[in-house]
Structures are given as structure tokens and as C-alpha cells.
Amino acid sequence: MQKFFEFINQLDRRIIFIFVALAIILPLLFPLNIKFTVTEPVRGFYEAIDKVPNGSKVLFACDFEPGSLPELYPMTYAALEQMLKKDLKIIALSLWPAGPPLVEKALTDMAQNEFKRKYGVDYVNLGFKEGREVVMVSMGSSIPNTFPQDYRGTKVSQIPIMQGVNNFKDVKLIVNISAGYPGTKEWVQQVQARYNIGLVSGCTAVSAPEYYPYYQSKQLLGLLGGMKGAAEYEILVNRIGLGRRGMDAQSMAHVIIFLFILLGNLAYFSLKKKGT
């Protein structure tokens, strides 16, 4: 036993990596279908979109890049499904340089292929603009001046969905999917606080705790935290997506980490008792 604890105490981190990899891969191959319920912040996200009158215009700010794709794409697709089911007109943009192709793909998959919506009439991808929160503030004065053309190079003045859209007052809600900076925090500080417009956020699990104060103060009407948030949201939207499928893997990975922490402490106390 002493030898085992010494081995655990000096454990090569690559062994931990192998166990974590197995804990993620195996449940994806052999699903366990563990049940779970929906938490309040996720319900808030769903209800905020649900309350927007059918056919209204919403701003869909997708502030992420390929790095956070596995975590944020499930909620992006689920949010698009809810918005398209309500026939909301989607004005998408990204403040991350590598974001627009990802937004374009999601819009093509959902709006064009699944819901047969028309580009320019029912949805538009405004693309990327350098400037981070400065762009947000600038949009408060004029969205067409900030984004004079869309991702495909068409002048915004020639796009039907953009007619009558001048600033944030002309959209009913901002749906933000955020991987970091610029993202939810900046949308709250620069836009929600200044223009008093409804804002919901879907973000990576690691940044969700930072946004909890905004949810509590009602500056965020709803919050999806990481893949778990996406999975809960998929239940509400009635969609079986990557979020729900990833929950078993995430559960197992957390259990493995817990077991390693437990083993590490057992080894620590055992060796401490023996004075090693």
C-alpha cells in the first residue's frame, strides 16, 4: 500500500491525461443518458427570447473563435433554432476576427437549410469589425455606419432586413454568445448599461461565474454556462444536439477528477502519518 501511495504522490500527469481522455471518449461512444433538470438562468435565457414578439429583429452577437467552438456551437445552434421557430429576424455579427465564418456556417445550416429562410430578408451576417468595445459604443450611434457592408460585401443600405435599423433602439433583444473579451462583460458595460436594452448571454463554463452578478442584477436576463447550460437549453428548445450528448462525457470527466483529488489526498495523509 505504501508503494502505491508513493506512486500516486509522484504520479506522472500523463497518466491523469489518459484517464481523462477515456472518461470523455467512452461515454461519447456508449451514452449513459443521465437525466438532468433545467436551472433558473437557463430558463431566463429561453424566456427572454420567448417574450420577444414574433417577427421582431434581434441582434445576435457571436463573439467566439474556433477554440471555443465545441463548447459554444451547441448553444449557438439551439439559440438559432428558438429564434427561427419564432420567425425572429436575425442580425448576426462578431467582434472576434475569426468569428464570421463560424457564424456564416451556423446561419447556413440552420436558417437556410433547416428553416428555409432567405438571406438578407430573414437574416444577415454583418461580419467582423475591429475595435472591440469601441464598435459596441459606435453601434449605439449608428449600426449602418459601423457596419457599412455585410460579410458578403453587400452594402447594408441594400439589405431589406437592415431597413429601419439605425441603432440598438431598433432591435428587441441582444443575444450574445461569448468566449471572453470582447464579450458579455463588454456588452453589459458598454451597451446594456447605456442603452437599457434586454441582453441574454451564453458563455464558456469558465467565464459563467464572472457573469453571475450581472444575472442577479437583471442586467442579463438569462445565462447559459458552457456545455451544461447548452444541454439544459436544448431540453427547453426540444432539440437533441451536441450539448445533451456531451453531458455524459462531462459527468464522467468530473468524476475522474474527483477520484484523482481523493486519491491524492489519501496518499498525502497516509505518507504524512508515516512521516515520509
Binding site: 500527469r13 473563435e65 477554440g67 471555443s68 476576427p97 475569426a98 472591440r132 468595445e133 469601441v134 449608428s142 429601419g164 439605425n166 441603432n167 468566449a179 471572453g180 473579451y181 448599461a193 437599457n196 464558456t204 469558465v206 467565464s207 459563467a208 461565474p209 464572472e210
Partner: protein, 296 residues
């Protein structure tokens, strides 16, 4: 009044007149269709923010003025900042470099500004020991600022010849490309000390964990609360939130900078008082006090 002062007054007046004329011209212009032209010069909904800011500013400036008069000010020991000197000392003993990572944000983030201030002080210390200081940078705008801060640090230490411009390296503005490259520097160049001070996001643990695996002494600091747990578990010392901003005063011990810390502390005491009063009044059902703090 000498020529320099006259030039300054002319410059300030010119900029001010330009701004005023722009505002007046804009006033004449017709507002865009469908929007209402706002003629108000003060947003009364934000009076509470204005008063709070005025109190905080006054407290800071008052303490700075006091400090300038020579009043001695006590500042508590901050282990993380003391550790920077220790880390540089260890790097010197080992004859290895120090890696300074100033976060991933641009100069418009106050944390990056604070980080550049610390970088200047760190460069001054390092210059005395004659070891390389490597600064990998994610935002191109930060490159010239970091160069200037390090150059000035070496200059202040009387070692301008030891300053190596090529060690201030722009890597990539892509977050994970940057993280991969910095991890590469840690593994190839094996710095004896890693200083991670500034604004960090998902790359924080990737950097700190790789640094820990190389055996480097690590001092981290950020005001991005959600990344603090990662630094706490993977680094030897962590500067939490305000400690990052206190660094310049702490390291330089300049009275006027120490004064600003005292001002912040007074403001903090007032906030604590307001929280206590607010909690008591809310508990007994009195609502007006908390309403004073609602921001429109």
C-alpha cells in the same frame, strides 16, 4: 511664462476649441430621421454615479496631496510583489531568463496599463542582474509601449546597453496561437521565473500549468476573477484584483503613488459602510437608501 508653457497653453486651447466647434457644428446639424435630438448637458439619471466618482476622485487626490507634503503612509506587505524580486534573484543564480507575460488585452484595458507599469519596474530590477527579460505580446499595440517601458527600466538602472529589443516579441493576436507559442518559449528557453501579470482568459491555465511543469517560480496577477482560481492552483504567488493595481506604488514606493492607494482604501471603507447601512435598512423594510444606488 516661458516658451514651453505658452506652447502648451496654445496646444490645449487649440484642441479644446476644435472639440467645442465640433459640438456646436453638430448642434446645428439636423438629427438623423426617426431619432430624437437630445439637448441636455447632464444625464440626471446618472447623478449618483457622478457623486460617487467625485468622492472617489477627491479621496485619491487628497491623499496624494498629503503624501506629497511628506506625510508617511503605511502599506501592508504584499507577498506576491515581494516574490517578484525573489524570482528575479533565482533566475540570476541559475543564469536563466525571466519571462514576463503582460496578459492578452490591448492598451485600452487598465490591467494592461498596470502590467506595463510593473514591467517598467521589473525591467529596472532585471537590468541590474544582467539576465534576459523576454516579453511575448499578443496585441500589436502593446509592443511599442512594452519596448518603451523596458528601455526606460534599463536606462534607469544605468544599463541601456543591456536592453535587447528583440526580446519584446509580438506573437499573434490569436488567443490560442499565442498560448501555444508562449508554452513553446517556456519549454525551449526554460525561464527560471514566469511573471504572468495582466488580463488573462482561457489561456491562463495552459500557460501556468506548462510553467509549473518546467519548474519555474511563477508569480501571477489579474483582476479577471474567473481566472484567479487557475493561477492560485498553478502558481507560487498570486496577486488578487486590486493588488495588481497597487503594484506600481508598492514597487516604486513613491509617496504620490502610495497616496492613491490610501484614497482607494478610504473609498472602500465608504462602500463597506454603505453596504452595512443598506443591509440593515433593507432588512427592516426601508427601501430609499438602496434606491439611491440604482444606476439607470
Amino acid at each position: 511664462m516661458n516658451n514651453r508653457k505658452i506652447s502648451l497653453v496654445i496646444l490645449i486651447s487649440a484642441i479644446w476649441l476644435t472639440l467645442c466647434s465640433q459640438i456646436l457644428l453638430a448642434q446645428e446639424a439636423a438629427p438623423p430621421t426617426g431619432t430624437k435630438f437630445d439637448y441636455h448637458w447632464f444625464d440626471t439619471n446618472r447623478l449618483n454615479v457622478f457623486i460617487t466618482l467625485a468622492i472617489v476622485f477627491s479621496a485619491i487626490l487628497w491623499f496624494i496631496a498629503r503624501a506629497k507634503k511628506g506625510k508617511s503612509l503605511f502599506i501592508r506587505r504584499i507577498a506576491g510583489l515581494d516574490a517578484i524580486e525573489e524570482a528575479v534573484g533565482r533566475a540570476t543564480e541559475m543564469g536563466k531568463s525571466v519571462l514576463y507575460i503582460p496578459g492578452i488585452h490591448d492598451m485600452n484595458d487598465i490591467q494592461t496599463v498596470a502590467s506595463m507599469i510593473i514591467l517598467g519596474n521589473v525591467a529596472k530590477t532585471i537590468a541590474r542582474y544582467d539576465i534576459p527579460l523576454i516579453v511575448p505580446i499578443r496585441q500589436p499595440f502593446v509592443v511599442p509601449v512594452a519596448e518603451e517601458a523596458v528601455r526606460q527600466g534599463y536606462l534607469s538602472a544605468g544599463r541601456p546597453d543591456a536592453f535587447m529589443k528583440d526580446n519584446i516579441r509580438f506573437i499573434s493576436d490569436e488567443q490560442f496561437a499565442y498560448a501555444a507559442a508562449v508554452n513553446g518559449i517556456m519549454l525551449r528557453e526554460r525561464p527560471a521565473a514566469n511573471l504572468l501579470l495582466g488580463s488573462f482568459y482561457a489561456e491562463s491555465l495552459l500557460l501556468a500549468e506548462t510553467g509549473a511543469s518546467t519548474g519555474a517560480i511563477q508569480v501571477a496577477g489579474t483582476a479577471n476573477i474567473h481566472q484567479l482560481p487557475f493561477f492560485v492552483v498553478a502558481c507560487d504567488y498570486t496577486l488578487i484584483g486590486e493588488e495588481l493595481f497597487a503594484a506600481s506604488a508598492y514597487l516604486s514606493r513613491e509617496p504620490k503613488l502610495l497616496g492613491s492607494l490610501k484614497g482607494s482604501d478610504l473609498a472602500k471603507a465608504l462602500i463597506v459602510l454603505a453596504i452595512i447601512i443598506g443591509t440593515i435598512l433593507e432588512t427592516i423594510g426601508v427601501k430609499w437608501f438602496t434606491k439611491l444606488f440604482v444606476v439607470q
